[in-house]
Structure formats: C-alpha cells, structure tokens
C-alpha cells in the first residue's frame, strides 16, 4: 500500500528519545516533549479514526480529543513505553463512541455516511472520502463497488476484529502497539486478524 507522504521528517530510532522518556519529560514539566509524541503518533491516530469514521474532519476532531485526553490522563499511564498503543486505544474508543453518537443523532447507519454501496449515483455529500478523493478519477465503477462492499463487510465485523484488520492489515501497524490498543496479547491480535479475515472471506466470497 502506498504510504502517505508527509511534510515533517520521520523520527529516527537511533536519535529520538523513547516514548517512555518523552512521557517522563512531559510529566517532569517539559511541555514540548508531548509535542514530540503528537508528531510521532498523529498519523496513526488519524488513520485509525479515519478508517472507523470515514472522513478526515471527524477523524481530526477525534484525534485532537484523544491527545487532550491522553495529556490529561498521562499520570495514569502505567507503562510509559506503551504510549502509542495506549493512545490508539483512546482513539479507537473515542471513534467508536463518536460513531455511535453520530448514528444516534442522525439515525444514519455508517454505510450511509460512507456513501452508497452501489456507487453508480454520486452524492454531493455524505460519501466516504476514500471513494471520492483518493483514487484515480478513472477508477472503474466495479472497483468502487468493490470498495463499498469491503467497507460494508468490515463494518459487520466485531469491533476487535475490525480494529485488528484495520490497524494491522490495512495500516500495517506494529502488533505490539495493536495489542496495547486492544488491551490483549500479541497472539490474540493474530487471532483477531485471522477471525476477521475468515469472516470477511465469507462475506465477500462472491468477489474472491
């Protein structure tokens, strides 16, 4: 999968302080240390939230809230080295809550927010950006329909399986971070990915 190009440089492991060090420095009063954590994890946070919410505006709002919550709860973080996974857990929970609230407010299922499965009719608003923006304009109707089917199938998975597939298979995040985010073991992450794949294969069997 093609990775998102970014303006700011990626942190290099050899020079960058660990998450644990940055957490400790933040708690010690160095506010800019938390800014480094924001720089380090905002892409992953956006990616997870975006995959769950379907648009970048909501994903940005949730990501901001997640960092605020993380900052205010930093003293309760038991394993500072696991900041990334802990943050992704906050992002996941906030995104799912946001989505539930959105459903309640608008009485619209996620699929309506993401756009119609049969994408022959283009809506001016309310459709998923990934179907309308990110692709080649000449993307075929068939592939757009396939994307819609896949999104719908993903939304039918249990939350942990959906998150495991999203974080690991689609966003290619580290299993240990996902384990922390899902509050389970690395082996359990593998199992969730497997169970998710198995269900997706059943749901999409006509397309495989």
């Amino acid at each position: 999968m093609e990775r998102q190009a970014t303006d700011d440089p990626e942190p290099t492991e050899t020079l960058s302080p660990s998450d644990g060090m940055l957490v400790a420095e933040t708690l010690g009063g160095r506010r800019s240390a938390f800014d480094e954590l924001i720089q380090r994890y905002q892409r992953q946070a956006i990616a997870v939230s975006y995959r769950l919410l379907g648009n970048t505006h909501d994903a940005s709002e949730v990501t901001q809230d997640a960092f605020l919550k993380a900052y205010s709860s930093l003293t309760s973080l038991q394993k500072p080295e696991a900041f990334g996974g802990w943050l992704l857990r906050i992002v996941s929970n906030l995104s799912l809550n946001y989505r539930r609230g959105r459903k309640t407010r608008s009485q619209l299922p996620l699929d309506d927010v993401l756009g119609p499965i049969d994408s022959g009719q283009t809506q001016a608003s309310g459709r998923s950006e990934w179907m309308s923006k990110s692709g080649d304009p000449s993307r075929s109707m068939e592939s757009r329909e396939m994307g819609g089917r896949l999104q719908q199938a993903l939304s039918q998975l249990p939350e942990k399986q959906r998150l495991a597939i999203t974080m690991f298979t689609i966003e290619e995040m580290a299993q240990k971070d996902i384990a922390e985010a899902l509050n389970c073991s690395v082996e359990a992450v593998k199992w969730h990915v497997f169970q998710g794949r198995k269900k997706l294969k059943e749901l999409l069997k006509d397309y495989l």
Binding site: T56, T75, K133, G135, L204
Partner: protein, 193 residues
C-alpha cells in the same frame, strides 16, 4: 491438520509472522490436501483487496499538531504532575493509625463497676458520621432525640488522665462518648439526664 488450523497458518503467512516450522507444515498441506490451494488463493485475494484500500487522504499534519498543542495549552495551563506516592510509607502510616485507634478503643473499654452502655471502638471513632457536642457548662442538660438517645461518659476513673482522650468528645448517632482528663469519669448519665 484441520481446516481451521490450516487457515490460521495461512493468515499468519500473509502477515509474515509464520515460523519456519509452521511454514513447512503449511507447504506440505498445500501440496497434498484437495482444495487447500483454492482456499489459499481466496485468502491471498482478500489480502490483496485489503491492501488496496486507498490511503488516508492528505492532511496538513503540521496544522493538526499545532491545533492540538493550542487546545492543550488553552485547556491545561500547567503540565500534568505525577505524584510519587510512597505506598510503603502510606501503608505503614495507615497501619500505625489503625493500631492507635484500636488501642484507644480497647483503652476506653469500661472497667468493672462503671456502667457504659456502649464501648467505643475503632469503628465508632472512625465512623464517617461524626457529631461533636461540647458541654458548656458541664451540667448542661441534653435533650434526648433521634440523634442523641443515650450518653455515656468515659474513660474509667483509673484511665482518665490520658492526653489523647482529654479533648475527645465523639458521638455516633445514638451514643455520645465523652472523655475529659480533669473530670474522672463517673457514671454520670443520671446527672446529665
């Protein structure tokens, strides 16, 4: 190897987390089991589909980070501070306090011949529902009511000089305990009433 085990190995192979030993077992199964190749192809196709998900649309991450930082600075003027609780010291302190309160409770146990309707205990002293009554003057008449139905005065005569109890006037909803060092405790409930 059953189908479930085979599929789990396939999933791990797609993830790149399959061990060499399991990989050999997987290849052997693929070579011999009917339908295994087709199943493997389906998982491969699904994986390709998942990998083909378009990336997250372009976002100005610099602006996002700035917005997050501004929100934090506006909402939290001071950085979070970790309180370094010394749980060993706290535990020791609590244990000492409990022992002292227990000792007080035992010490206030009535001596023979002294009529106390209720003996103060740790629970009584530590009860969250505390009422304090100051008797001024000492011969004040107390009204018996829902919150004060009986009054007992302590400690016993031979333990009345305790500095700890000299100022203690502690009551529970139904019972008042009074200890004054300069007034050797008597069974004064009659005079109070």
């Amino acid at each position: 190897m059953n189908t479930e085990q085979f599929e789990f190995l396939l999933s791990q192979q797609l993830d790149g987390t399959l061990s060499a030993e399991d990989s050999s077992a997987l290849q052997a199964h693929l070579a011999t089991a009917p339908g295994a190749r087709r199943l493997a192809d389906e998982y491969q196709n699904l994986n390709s589909l998942l990998k083909s998900f378009p990336p997250v649309p372009a976002i100005d991450y610099r602006a996002l980070a700035s917005r997050i930082n501004d929100a934090i600075d506006n909402q939290y003027a001071a950085p979070p501070i970790r309180l370094n609780w010394n749980w060993t010291a706290i535990g020791s302190g609590l244990a000492m306090a409990a022992c002292m309160m227990l000792a007080v409770g035992l010490w206030m146990r009535p001596a023979t011949g002294i009529r106390h309707s209720v003996v103060p205990t740790v629970a009584a002293i530590a009860a969250p529902h505390i009422e304090v009554a100051v008797l001024q003057p000492e011969d004040a008449k107390l009204e018996i009511g829902p919150a004060l139905q009986r009054v007992s005065v302590g400690p016993p005569v031979n333990q009345s000089n305790s500095p700890i109890l000299s100022e203690a006037i502690v009551s529970r909803p139904n019972t008042l305990f009074i200890a004054k060092a300069d007034q050797p405790a008597q069974d004064t409930s009659q005079s109070l009433y």
